[in-house]
């Protein structure tokens, strides 16, 4: 029998990204109304079409109701008590990284994100977003040589307005859901990626989102367009300081893949999850969707969700193009009083489309971890296939694991397979490992890592190692 006290007394790793950067910021007043939206748009010197987009979204949002179907228990959000724009004060335009406030660079260094160009060896281009604005984007020239556009979405609005106007809101329309409408009205920054025809992006692209201010929400928007026969791997990471209050994060990510293009989107989400009593933490309401427009296009989502007090996230694929492929690999870990309601939607519209879903949920403490997914075969999806696998691991008898797969088929010439299982850390396996001299905590983390292997294998190298370590840290002291 596992010694409960020994485990509970084990050293707990504090949330190491919980520091606050003391920096002068420019904030607008709290609240949300048309004037605020106009002000955000004006601050970002946006063209009229974008202001219209925002105002229309705002009107739709006002008529919508906050969804409650996920039965997540959280206190009501006062949308008028949030600051919708917060940016570190900077001198005029920055021409190189040397001009970025050293405090900011230091912050990202502390987070392990290399913004300085000498760290080229990592070969990952980074777009760092601090509260509402993008601070810096590295490797831009190298990428530009290949025709790849990688910049903040605010810059893209200025320099590539035609692409933004053409694609923004085409995958996730403003009226899609409550949080997408809110994001469309107030989004402040985010990343924009454009991979031209036939180009394989020479390096991984990455965005790093940092919430610093306690009373402002973060509403970033990411748009990735992969033209014919191009491919890109995109990584996203997030952290936030520890505050007693809850901070709202409502992001929208849109991916578009044309003929033979492939986009791999990986996330390691480690927002502050609140303390053991459930005080503080990020409310993470995210809409992520990819559209496989072209023939043989492919969109692959992989995510490791360990943070946030509340996660509400369903990265989806609309499989329109013939023989297009959608993938979703997810590990969601919840501990203490965290609640995660996450999963995916695979909508098969075109013929011979394929999708794979692998979801691993680990619930510990008093947390609630749900997989909620939809697989739909439309009438034209002849010869399409889906395979889903959802496994849950329960640690302790206070945590809950739920599985809600919605499966709908209107096409006889298609196949859907779904399987789900629930298990716990087997005492026999633990005993075996311990009898071989492996420490208890290490044995648990080995088993968890084995449980998640299918997903970790899909993550880019750097992320896989980080995710593994992250899970081990998060679980410390939670096994009883």
């Amino acid at each position: 029998m596992v010694n409960e006290n020994l485990v509970k007394d084990a050293v707990k790793e504090p949330y190491k990204y919980g520091f606050v950067t003391d920096i002068e910021t420019e904030k607008i007043e709290k609240g949300l109304n048309e004037d605020i939206i106009k002000l955000i748009s004006q601050k970002k010197e946006e063209p009229n079409f974008l202001l219209d987009f925002r105002l229309k979204a705002f009107k739709k949002w006002q008529k919508m109701k906050e969804p409650d179907w996920a039965s997540l228990g959280y206190k009501k959000i006062d949308y008028q008590d949030i600051i919708y724009y917060s940016a570190p004060k900077q001198k005029e335009k920055i021409s190189s990284l040397d001009e970025v406030d050293p405090k900011l660079l230091e912050t990202f260094d502390k987070l392990g994100i290399p913004l300085t160009e000498q760290k080229k060896l990592t070969n990952v281009a980074v777009d760092a977003v601090f509260d509402s604005v993008s601070i810096a984007t590295t490797f831009r020239e190298e990428l530009a040589d290949h025709g790849v556009i990688f910049c903040s979405i605010s810059e893209a609005v200025k320099n590539h307005a035609d692409l933004i106007e053409k694609y923004l809101g085409t995958v996730v329309p403003a009226s899609d859901n409550y949080f997408a409408a809110l994001n469309s009205a107030v989004f402040s920054d985010g990343s924009f990626v454009y991979i031209p025809k036939g180009v394989t992006c020479p390096m991984d692209l990455s965005s790093y989102f940092r919430i610093n201010s306690g009373d402002s929400g973060q509403f970033e928007r990411t748009l990735i367009i992969a033209e014919e026969s191009s491919s890109v791997s995109y990584l996203e990471g997030c952290t936030a300081p520890m505050f007693d209050t809850n901070t709202l994060h409502a992001a929208v990510v849109e991916l578009i893949a044309l003929d033979d293009a492939s986009i791999k989107y990986s996330t390691v989400q480690n927002w502050y999850a609140g303390d053991e009593e459930g005080i503080g933490g990020i409310f993470n309401f995210v809409t992520k969707r990819g559209k496989c427009l072209g023939k043989r296009s492919k969109i692959s989502w992989s995510q490791v969700e360990t943070g946030s007090a509340i996660t509400w996230k369903y990265p989806s694929c609309l499989l329109l193009g013939e023989e297009s492929v959608g993938e979703f690999y997810s590990v969601a870990l919840t501990n203490n009083l965290q609640q995660a309601d996450t999963g995916t939607k695979m909508i098969h519209i075109g013929p011979k489309t394929k999708s794979t879903i692998v979801s691993k949920g680990i619930s510990a403490g008093n947390s609630k971890n749900s997989y909620r997914g939809l697989v739909k075969m439309g009438t034209k999806a002849t010869g399409s296939r889906n395979y889903s696998q959802c496994d849950s691991m329960l640690i302790g008898d206070q945590a809950s694991a739920n599985t809600f797969p919605y499966i709908k088929s209107q096409q006889p010439n298609s196949e859907i397979e779904h399987e789900a299982s629930t298990c716990r850390i087997s005492e026999d396996q633990l005993f075996y490992l311990q009898s071989r001299g492996i420490e208890f905590e290490e044995a648990v983390s080995m088993m968890v890592s084995g449980f998640c292997r299918d997903v970790f294998n899909q993550l880019p190298m750097e992320f896989a190692a980080e995710a593994d370590k992250l899970l081990a840290l998060k679980l410390e002291g939670s096994v009883g």
Partner: protein, 405 residues
């Protein structure tokens, strides 16, 4: 509100039983189920309103029993036909529940109802007059097979209620047949209480006719060491819902369910199951099959609920579906809600058509495509049919499924 008016105009207040009054009162706050709720969102609204369209009928017309009673020992009962039964034998006894017992138990059940989840039961109990409620207490072993029929009359809305207590250590085989008539609606609610160490092989066959409708609800409470085996088949209904609620009140019980629904033309048949484990060491093995052809729609939603107290639960649920036409559709949603950690729970779901490789293999052996399809279908059906306690020589269900349109 229409349905409530309909019941009231049919009868004066004095003629309503107390249970009817309680249920009518409850229905008043939600005369129709919430179409946005999980349990009703896929339900065809116009079909449901068609169900409620017929006038309420408490009298029964004659009907044909689909197969003859070929064994003298079989006990055959028809709900609504004032059947008086009191069998006191050496090994067993079957007798009717007294009015007080019946009322007390039904009231207890009503107090546990949730408005939206038990809407079908509320409707049933609002409609069922005394005559159409049959309560049985079964005791003992080596009991001859029991057959209970509920049927609808044409152009009317009929309601039948069945309450069965299986006393301790009782072991019985019970077949329930719900028969639809042309243009009819039948509301059938069954309440089963399995006491300690009792076991039942329960078969439910719901067999409709053109444009017949059915709301069939089954509520089972299992006490410890009881075993509940259910084999069910629903077919030939314009609109049918089969709602199963099983509660293992203290765990330590076994539940086996094998169910099937077959939809053709523009029919919609759905099965909803909710299995709750309120104690440790519970066991569940469930398989639900659907077959949808033509323009029909088959739905399955099954939830397994394992709270903290239900340690060492072993539950599995499988939903297997065949979609045979371009215009038909299938929705399935098996779900798990688990808090206990020392459990083994799994579910699976598949939707596909007939296996092409198998068809090809048979055709290379000279079997025609039609024959090969039939062979495959019969193996698909057989797994469920063999679980229903009725022999092939009595009523050849497989033949009905394969050869009747």
């Amino acid at each position: 509100m229409e349905i409530i008016e309909k019941i009231k105009t049919n009868k004066s207040d004095d003629n309503l039983t107390e249970i009817q009054k309680i249920c009518l009162h409850k229905l008043q706050s939600s005369p129709l189920p919430n179409p946005k709720s999980e349990k009703w969102r896929l339900s065809n609204k116009s079909k449901l309103s068609n169900f409620l369209d017929y006038s309420v009928n408490e009298k029964d017309s004659k009907f044909d029993i689909p197969y003859p009673k070929n064994s003298q020992s079989t006990i055959r009962l028809i709900v609504g036909e004032n059947c008086q039964i009191k069998l006191l034998k050496k090994n067993y006894s079957i007798q009717q529940l007294s009015e007080d017992e019946l009322e007390k138990y039904i009231k207890e059940q009503i107090s546990l109802f949730k408005q939206n989840e038990n809407w079908s039961d509320l409707l049933n109990l609002s409609l069922s007059c005394k005559k159409n409620i049959l309560g049985l207490k079964i005791n003992g072993s080596k009991i001859p097979p029991i057959e209970i029929f509920s049927h609808a009359s044409s152009n009317s809305l009929n309601s039948k209620t069945l309450v069965i207590f299986l006393e301790k250590n009782c072991d019985v085989e019970l077949l329930q047949v719900n028969l639809g008539k042309e243009n009819s609606s039948l509301s059938q609610s069954t309440f089963f209480c399995l006491k300690e160490n009792s076991s039942v092989n329960h078969g439910v066959i719901s067999y409709g006719k053109n444009r017949s409708n059915l709301l069939n609800s089954l509520n089972v409470i299992q006490q410890k060491n009881s075993a509940y085996n259910l084999g069910s088949l629903h077919f030939k209904f314009n609109y049918a819902r089969f709602e199963i609620n099983i509660k293992q009140s203290t765990g330590n019980a076994k539940t086996n369910i094998k169910g099937m629904q077959i939809t053709k033309k523009d029919e919609q048949i759905s099965t909803y199951t909710k299995i709750e484990f309120n104690g440790p060491n519970g066991f569940l093995d469930q398989i639900n099959k659907s077959l949808a052809d033509d323009k029909s729609h088959a739905i399955f939603e099954g939830s397994i609920i394992v709270p903290k107290i239900a340690q060492r639960t072993d539950a599995s649920q499988l939903s297997r579906n065949l979609l045979l036409s371009n215009l038909a559709q299938i929705d399935t949603k098996p779900q798990l809600e688990i808090i206990a950690d020392d459990v083994k729970c799994k579910h699976g779901a598949t939707i596909s058509q007939l296996n092409e490789e198998e068809l090809f293999y048979m055709r290379t052996r000279g079997v025609t495509l039609a024959e090969a399809s039939k062979l495959q279908l019969s193996s698909y059906f057989q797994e469920i049919i063999s679980f229903i306690p009725i022999s092939k020589d009595k009523w050849d269900l497989l033949d009905k499924l394969l050869n009747e349109n």
